[in-house]
Amino acid sequence: MRAVTTLLDAAPLTLRELARAVGAEDRWVVRLVEVEILRVDTPADPPERWHFRSADLQRALAARRLERDFGANLDTAALILDLQAELRRARALLGAHGLG
């Protein structure tokens, strides 16, 4: 069967679509934006007009797991995700210099 495939970054998700993709309510995604786990281009716009890309889906899924598996609140999840991203950046830098 040939499936209709779309690269998420070419056709970003709406708030409702992102919420559905992570098995959450819309207001949970709004909270992710409030605690800056997700950053939207136009935060002043109503949430229905926000758009989300691959990196947002990845961070939302990771936040969902931290909340579910470790009972982390979203502020803690935001800190952990930022530290994880920093760790990966540092490791990539080491790898790029043959030190990984």
Partner: protein
Amino acid sequence: MDFKDYYSALGVARDASDDDIRKAYRKLARKYHPDVSKEADADVKMREVNEARDVLSDKEKRAAYDQLADHVARGGSPDGGFRQPPPGWDDGYEFRRGPAQGPADHADFSEFFSSIFGNRGGTAQRGGDGAPYRERGEDHHAAIEISLEDALHGAERQLSLRAQEIDAQGRPRLVDRTLDVKIPAGVRPGQYIRLAGQGLPGHGGEPAGDLYLEVRIAPHPRYRIEGHDLTMTLPVTPTEAALGAQVTVPTPGGGHVDVTIPKGARNGMKLRLKERGLPGKTPGHLYLLLEIVLPPADSDAARAAYEQLAKAAPFNPREHLGA
């Protein structure tokens, strides 16, 4: 297929409380999390631990799993292997995923898990007021690993999935199906491809959910990938590094390009080939990490040349150490 002992995977007893399971999971997740673990098989262990937690932390799944474990213990197959659950093993249990349980991200779980829990969304239900139960199908997640060449040029790949369908009697059943997936050129690791309508089936005439495929790129012997950019180690001779040179370098797209090594180049110096990385609206760059490789002193002529160099260009690389 081996029967999986989820209790021993978490190191808990069969009568462990929810709190015991939560504590055991958190301890093991910290030990095997890929970002912090030094264990060689951390990824595999983490998947096992996740799978065990998924089952044992869900009352319905745990009860059904216990029933199945009892059945296998009583009359398991002679070779000790596990082929498939017996008919009716899950009678009375239903594995609907509530909104608080998070994404249906069982992509990395084992064949054993799929054979018993599949992608279940439960049997057909009716609303509390007697109206037909209607709900759009849940979105589902999986991962697809492609080669760097596929990411560069785009490709069409066939993906085998075990998915749920609703039969004529309204009961869910697992079917194997294959999907032709178009991989767009320039796709990067961590990006998602969305396959509309390929998630879990809807109920009461509502549409199916979508399938999200996370792109992973297999390690490449020559290039390291970071976002759009690629890095390649480029060996150069001491002469090329000291005096500068023009060298020919293969590019990820399959061609070659002439590169100028600047005079006095150092080991670890990075050269950037603009827009020679992954293609896209904003193409990535190709970075060349210079590695100075010494010619072997394996002949009289080579040894003489090294000795002559030492005399012609006296040099103490340990001067800054005071040695």
